[in-house]
Symmetry: C2
Subunit: 327 residues, 2 copies
């Protein structure tokens, strides 16, 4: 079988590709394990240097997800599985509404149409986000049963994506699932335009000897998931028989609901004798306002009952980052 | 000011136009009453005979809501108010997915973009539907706080419309509101293929001397609203100051949650000595199954607290239909 990962050269896309390379197979809709013979990473740009951990089965192609013809060409086999991660992120979406609609809404529709056009009901996992929640009526803890009134354009496009994946699945066009991600930590590399970028930066910059100015206060609570767990859960959700999902195929991933202060404590605990960059608190009203509108916890009973994995604490997440990126 | 009503020659569009002609003015975003000097009814087709109750201010234009350039041309003044009623209905949407997406999703986006392009933050009322609710997790009584997992493509496009109206309003592009309609009774004319068609037919056919075979049992409960109340509520919601709506600008209208048996009783009570067509119960498993998936009540406390009107009972609805269509 072929796997397409949109947003494939992004952090999560690459980690997912590496995990799939290691596994070498996936449970197909038939219920049988099928060998993966090609993994196509589709993204706006290709890395200058070929990333480690990928073998000859992994191909990288560049293009725009908002280009319908280009997206159609990606879905060129009946035995295909799709992980749709391509997305404008939250901060960027607030700054560029039209780009968020083109990439996140039109792009998702192009991909769903491309999958539908095959006629083989491809299995597809769409990366949604906890940013679907927000607004006056939002409870502190969110979950699969909570009304979605997102307060960012990013969150709106993710909520729409969940609705479309549900309907394309109900109609039998695809066999879709949406994985609703909390903030994923610890992202390597440089800060990005996501308003949640600091939740990785608070670990990453100090571990790399760089000072970190936090744009939010230490008592800010965020639901987070380690990337290893998130990638594992994307694969588990992909492999789940559709009848287990019922009429709502969007599943909120388990989260650790932790304060930024607890992130700092875990970092110091795990880092031991490592030299750490200095952490200061310098609240940024633009970021603080966005984050204040986010939920501070999640109810993930459904995810657990479906067999998805949960992080036990922050410490293994910090250790995993050190293993994966600093060893 | 100019008023545009999309779907303007449909039943609700025409009733709304007549109500606006009678009022002659609307509270503008400024808070002041503004005289309506033009009402444009935009629809796919124009009636062969000009409908009664419209004066020279009312113009009728035909075109496709899925035609972006055509829709842009409708929004040709800064002092404009928009009622967006154009829509593929539920049964048609299930039969023609692509048409539902073109009309209900793309059409709504065209109209929102046309309104945004003016730069005057036009006020807009979008007609949503109780069909946004459904699925495994739906409670018997639905409302503004309930998760939307629609089980028809029609419902999906309405849920997406609510999300888009919220976001265009949050961004300051428009001053939007969504009015979530229960089943509207008593629609004049002929039965259609909608599963809810009997909720008007049970009154209309007997009053017109036609026999009516009910496809559901008499204990079937449905949330309904009279069309006069629904039209009045669209206008009230239009006139509401935006700060009253908070972050979710979609409001579920009050409903009467009545059994089909109560509909029959009300009909007989109000009809008095009129000759009525005979009502028989001939359950249609197909219709009965669809209706069984619908909510049986609504929580409309928010609508009431916002000053929207509620029907007191079925009897005035039957009397209103007789006055409007049989006198």
């Amino acid at each position: 079988m072929k796997i397409v990962i949109t947003g494939g050269t992004g952090f999560l896309g690459l980690m997912l590709a590496r995990a799939l390379v290691k596994r070498g197979q996936l449970t197909a809709p038939s219920g049988n394990a099928e060998r993966i013979d090609e993994i196509l990473l589709f993204d706006m740009v290709a890395p200058a240097v070929r990333p480690a951990g990928l073998d000859e089965r992994v191909k990288i192609e560049t293009g725009q997800i908002s280009d319908g013809a280009r997206v159609r060409a990606l879905v060129d086999r009946d035995d295909i599985g799709i992980f749709h991660l391509a997305s404008v992120v939250s901060g960027e979406g607030e700054q560029n509404f039209d780009l968020a609609m083109q990439v996140n809404l039109d792009g998702t529709r192009h991909l769903l149409e491309a999958a539908r056009a095959r006629g083989s009901r491809p299995r597809l996992v769409f990366a949604s986000s906890i940013a679907v929640f927000g607004g006056d009526g939002m409870p502190p803890s969110v979950g699969d049963a909570v009304k979605q009134t997102p307060q960012t354009t990013y969150g709106v496009t993710k909520a729409i994506g969940e609705l479309l994946v549900n309907d394309y699945s109900r109609k039998g066009f695809i066999d879709g699932r949406s994985v609703r991600l909390p903030t994923i930590v610890i992202r390597p590399g440089k800060p990005n335009k996501a308003a949640s970028s600091f939740a990785s930066g608070v670990f990453r910059e100090p571990l790399n000897g760089i000072d970190c100015a936090l744009p939010v206060t230490l008592d800010t609570v965020m639901p987070v998931s380690g990337y290893r767990t998130a990638v594992e859960n994307m694969i588990r959700l992909y492999e789940l028989p559709p009848e287990k999902l019922g009429s709502d195929r969007a599943v909120g991933l388990p989260s650790l609901d932790v304060t930024v202060g607890e992130m700092v404590e875990s970092l110091k605990r795990v880092a031991g004798n490592r030299h750490l960059g200095e952490i200061t608190v310098a609240p940024d009203p633009f970021i603080q306002k966005i984050v204040a509108g986010w939920p501070t916890g999640t109810n993930f009973k459904r995810a657990t009952s479906l067999g998805l994995a949960a992080d036990e604490s922050l410490d293994p997440i910090v250790k995993g980052y050190i293993e994966d990126f600093l060893s």
